[in-house]
């Protein structure tokens, strides 16, 4: 870990102002991922701005009938919120499928969106990784890639985004509210929030330097059956091989987002037109153009079969 300076911000405006005047600063909330990365010098911020005191820890109803989730709401609290459980079950289930109780107690809504890949080459500083050291190459391509992305990949990077929460938020059409260093705010649809790796896998979101997530807003509930199905080698405390966040309506229409398959939560709205026709038809379109390695090719049929299991569950067949 490199030496760094540290300050506590008292308001979002104070936090972004601090970031603006300190190049190389990072915000820290739960720290469940950032601190590990700093210990291994994968992240080397010169300055940490602690945002835990920003009072962004409330879940409030919006005038539009949705929910506004403060960026500092802990994963545990978000999963347990009665409104989330009632109206956005897919989100509650996704959160509880992730990490462990201890981590969920510390991890925040904003931080969860910002967590970085668990690719083992990214974590081993002796190894090539374009995400960690741009231009150094990708260890996973041609290497150990069983857990890696199968869609939206590039020649530079095949890492996945590890979040469960974000996959459910993608299915829910959430929007991310931010404050920029100059104090202005904007909202970013979650579909546009995370980027594909392309030639710059080190750039993972559309956030500008020093831009702070203040909240995530969920639109009015859409009803339907909410399912989050996470498939992994062990039953708990593991990242998804494939996960499916689905909202299925009585008439068989609905929404589907996938986790564990791409550099971002993966959803193709056009594919959802196929939902009444079943998992095969949806997946064919959802994962069209998949580019797999011999080790992760199974994720394509697994996604299809997991979606089939979800659709059967939604129908009450399973």
């Amino acid at each position: 870990m490199r030496s760094f300076t540290y300050e506590r911000a008292g308001s979002p405006a104070e936090a972004v102002a601090a970031a603006a005047r300190t190049p190389g600063a990072k915000f820290i909330a739960g720290g469940t991922n950032l601190l590990d990365l700093m210990k291994n010098e994968i992240e080397t911020p010169m300055h940490l701005i602690d945002v835990n005191g920003l009072a962004l820890d409330k879940i409030e109803a919006t005038p539009e009938g949705g929910l506004r989730i403060g960026a500092l709401v802990r994963n545990t609290d978000l999963a347990a919120d009665p409104r989330v459980r009632r109206d956005y079950g897919v989100l509650s289930r996704a959160l509880l499928a992730g990490a462990s109780g201890q981590l969920r107690n510390a991890a925040t809504t904003g931080g969860n969106l910002m967590q970085r890949t668990r690719c083992p080459y990214f974590y081993d500083t002796n190894q090539p990784c374009n995400k960690r050291v741009p231009g150094s190459g990708c260890g996973a391509i041609g290497g150990f890639s069983r857990g890696h992305a199968v869609i939206g990949v590039s020649d530079a990077c095949i890492a996945t985004h590890p979040s469960d929460m974000a996959v459910a938020m993608r299915a829910l059409d959430a929007t991310v509210e931010t404050m920029r260093p100059d104090g202005s705010t904007r909202t970013i649809p979650i579909a546009q929030f995370h980027r594909l790796p392309g030639d710059t896998p080190q750039v993972e979101t559309v956030l500008a330097a020093g831009e702070l997530i203040t909240a995530v807003t969920l639109p009015k509930p859409v009803g339907g059956t909410h399912i989050y199905r996470k498939v992994r080698d062990r039953a708990s405390y593991a990242f998804a091989l494939v996960s499916v966040a689905a909202i299925v309506q009585r008439d068989g229409t609905g929404r589907v987002a996938l986790g564990g398959v791409a550099h971002k939560p993966w959803r193709v709205e056009a594919a959802e037109n196929q939902m009444p026709r079943g998992a095969k038809a949806v997946t064919a379109q959802l994962l069209m153009g998949a580019r797999t390695t011999p080790e992760n090719a199974f994720k394509v049929p697994l996604a299809e079969r997991t979606l089939a299991a979800v659709l059967a569950e939604a129908k009450g067949d399973a």
């Binding site: 870990m1 490199r2 030496s3 210990k39 291994n40 010098e41 668990r118 083992p120 080459y121 974590y123 081993d124 002796n126 190894q127 260890g139 041609g142 290497g143 150990f144 069983r146 199905r229 498939v231 080698d233 062990r234 039953a235 708990s236 405390y237 593991a238 990242f239 091989l241 079943g278 998992a279 095969k280 199974f298 049929p301 697994l302 299809e304 079969r305 997991t306 979606l307 089939a308 299991a309 059967a312 399973a318």
Partner: protein, 736 residues
């Protein structure tokens, strides 16, 4: 005492204390955090500096140059130890690669430097300033590719390179029913909770190391040899150990570097290996490729059985003894085994829980299941039919005890095996395909010399001292039970002191030999103490009765406290074995039954219930023994379903080298576990009439799981771990 004839009736047979399910006597210290582990001796080794180990960034080659300038001037740094300044170092025979590498690099994450600083954080930060230029060399990292270059090994974890009885080739060719299949097992990491850790402090030319080792006396010698100092100048202290599973049988880099760092810094230095360093820096269970051929009559009698195993290791390393269980488990007049070893430039392969049997039975017990399928026989019945009561390689040599058939029968009964539909892929419960599987367990009883000292004081307290270790197994408790039984005192009058080379040398912990040999050593020492007590009182030792804190002979009865007198009485002895283990095959047996559910769509696998039936002689403490078997079964499930070090065959290292990437089972993976111990004694084994269980519990488990998955799905996987991706292609298409 020399153990050269089977045990007759002795004080242990009273079973007032031994054989009782007593809570661990060290439990309160562990659950309250007051049992100091290797890294925690702050009070005894005060003001330590902290060492941080740097591992090689390449798998093979040499260090061209190493630049310590920036690191040396970093805050808090005291010294940096490298091969350039460490002075000449020896290498113990039990270490294949050097524990401090450079300039030659033998494997990835081989230690190349120790940065010593005032705090751990300073040492870690400075370590990241060390600049190393390497010259890479080509290495061999792919077992399948190196298989054809494998040769006859000079060392094997257990057994011989080649065995042959009868005419295997002829009998196999002539057999009306044949199986010829190849199985693979991956590299495994021990993944014990406590990492390798040591604190070293020098005084004059003598070093004391508080460390985490399974084998004190052996490690004492090996550390002395590495440092080039007399064995008497090394003291190791290791009373509490957070798991080992074979990874702590050997002196590793933490111990050597702590000693070197402390010598250079002139003060105590503590070193713990970070988790990501452990899989590539230390040892692991090596991967295997195994070919098994079985020939049988149509009635199901095995006529030919052959088992070949290929594994890899660094030059000079040992081969995995996977073929070993096949030599003793089933009948068959024509037999062969062969063990071959390829050179691989991965970290050193070595013992991990039940080395040989664990990997061998992963393959053999699938093969037996497959053979039963070919014969259309029930797999339990096929195993019973091919039981043998003598060593099949040497029919003149009986087993000391062999209750294998009883294990199978009791297990089948308790598990409800008869209700099983023998047809694969025929049982459904909702979304789950349900299947059950069985496998045999066999693991040797290893005899080892083990010494102890016992002292009786004027309060009637019996103190036992031996350098035996408790690696989480319950050694403290069973040793206390042994002494209490022998001396006729309650448990609270026994004090057990372990894990210090100042005490008599024990067998240590490993190879499931710890419990039986260490308690037998205590038995021997207690016999001597009883004699001393009797002699002092003028009793005839043979008919003195030790009970309730008294020693009695005829009408006379004297409290032990009084017998001890002011100066107390001390006795020391060791158990030593003649050749009963050559005359008899001394072996433990078991049967594992497993039920799994496999999701019909996603092929996710969950273990619904497990049952182990064990025949291992007298069970010294059913509670601690059960914990051992439950833990071993869990580790077996890991091997079946998820554990595998992923080899990067280009870059030459285990990629998933932490506990996020190397998954071991969690509670949610296994819903129910049950253990049955057959009521048995084995007087041929030792005076305790006991055998080990800690490794028997893992033997065969993975195959039982794999067989259950086959029964559930109809998909046979011969390549561990059995993960869902290996099932998917052959699962029914229900996606619609």
């Amino acid at each position: 005492m020399k153990f050269d004839v089977p045990a007759s009736t002795n004080p242990i047979d009273q079973l007032k204390v031994v054989g009782q399910p007593i809570d661990r006597i060290d439990g309160p210290r562990k659950t309250t955090g007051t049992a100091p582990y290797a890294y925690e001796w702050h009070d005894i080794a005060p003001n330590p500096a902290y060492g941080y180990v740097i591992g090689s960034a390449i798998a093979k080659g040499r260090i061209a140059s190493i630049d310590l300038t920036a690191a040396r001037s970093a805050p808090g740094v005291r010294v940096i130890v490298t091969a350039n300044n460490a002075g000449p170092l020896g290498r113990a025979e039990r270490n294949t690669a050097r524990l401090l590498g450079g300039p030659e690099i033998q494997h990835y994450h081989q230690a190349i430097a120790l940065v010593v600083a005032e705090t751990f954080e300073q040492a870690r930060a400075a370590a990241q300033l060390v600049r190393v230029d390497y010259v890479k060399a080509r290495g061999s990292f792919d077992l399948a590719a190196a298989k054809d270059s494998a040769t006859k090994p000079t060392g094997i974890t257990t057994g011989a390179a080649d065995t042959a009885v009868g005419d295997f080739a002829g009998a196999f060719a002539a057999a009306p029913v044949q199986l010829d299949a190849t199985y693979t097992t991956p590299d495994h990491s021990h993944s014990m909770m406590e990492p390798h850790a040591s604190i070293a402090a020098w005084s004059g030319g003598k070093v004391t190391v508080w460390t985490s080792t399974q084998m004190l006396d052996q490690s004492r010698g090996d550390l002395a040899q590495t440092l080039g100092i007399p064995k008497e100048n090394v003291r190791l202290i290791s009373p509490y150990i957070g798991g080992g599973f074979g990874s702590k049988l050997w002196v590793r880099s933490d111990t050597v570097l702590a000693a070197l760092g402390a010598r250079a810094a002139g003060r105590p230095v503590k070193v713990a290996l970070t988790r990501p360093l452990i899989p590539n820096n230390t040892t692991h269970r090596p991967a295997t490729i195994q070919r098994i051929r079985i020939g049988a009559t149509r009635d199901g009698d095995i006529t030919a059985i052959g088992h070949e195993c290929w594994s890899g290791n660094l030059p000079g390393g040992k081969a995995d003894g996977a073929v070993n269980p096949t030599r003793l488990l089933y009948a068959g007049a024509n037999r062969m085994t062969a063990t071959r070893l390829a050179v691989l430039d991965l970290a050193e392969g070595n013992s991990m829980r039940a080395p040989g049997e664990a990997t061998g039975l992963m393959a053999l017990e699938i093969a037996i299941d497959e053979m039963a399928g070919k014969l259309a026989m029930d797999p339990v019945a096929f195993r019973i039919r091919n039981d043998t009561q003598v060593d099949p390689e040497n029919p003149m040599r009986p087993f000391s005890r062999r209750a294998f058939v009883q294990c199978l029968r009791v297990g089948a009964d308790r598990f409800g095996w008869s209700r099983r539909n023998p047809r694969p892929a025929a049982t459904h419960e909702g979304r789950w395909l349900v299947g059950s599987g069985v496998a045999a367990a066999i693991r040797g009883n290893v005899v080892q010399k083990s010494a102890a000292r016992v002292r009786l004081d004027n309060r009637g307290v019996v103190t036992v001292e031996t350098d035996m270790t408790d690696i989480g197994t319950g050694s403290y408790t069973i040793i206390a039970q042994t002494a209490a039984e022998m001396m006729g005192v309650p448990l609270d009058k026994v004090l057990v002191r372990l894990g210090d080379t100042a005490f008599p040398a024990s067998c240590g912990s490993g190879g499931q030999f710890g419990a039986t040999n260490s308690t037998s050593g205590v038995f021997a020492a207690c016999l001597k103490l009883r004699e001393a007590v009797a002699r002092k009182l003028g009793f005839n030792a043979a008919d003195a009765v030790f009970a309730d804190g008294q020693v009695s002979s005829g009408a006379r009865s004297v409290p032990l406290s009084q017998a001890a007198g002011e100066s107390g009485l001390t006795a020391e002895d060791a158990i030593e074995y003649a050749n009963l283990d050559k005359t008899y095959a001394e072996t433990t047996f078991g049967a594992h039954f497993v039920e799994v559910g496999v999701d019909a769509l996603t092929a996710e696998i969950r273990v619904r219930r497990m049952l182990a039936v064990c025949a291992a002689g007298r069970i010294l403490n059913p509670k601690t023994a059960r914990s051992q078997v439950i833990g071993a079964m869990t580790m077996g499930v890991g091997g079946a379903l998820m554990e595998a070090l992923a080899v990067d065959k280009r870059l030459g290292f285990f990629v998933n080298h932490d506990l996020a990437g190397y998954e071991v089972p969690v509670h949610a993976d296994i819903q129910h576990q049950e253990v049955i111990f057959l009521d048995e004694t084995d007087p041929v084994a030792n005076p305790m009439k006991a055998k080990g269980v800690g490794e028997l519990g893992i033997c065969g488990v993975a195959a039982a799981v794999a067989n259950a998955i086959y029964h559930a799905t109809g998909v046979r996987v011969r390549d561990y771990p059995v993960t869902l991706d290996k099932l998917l292609a052959n699962m029914p298409d229900l996606t619609g």
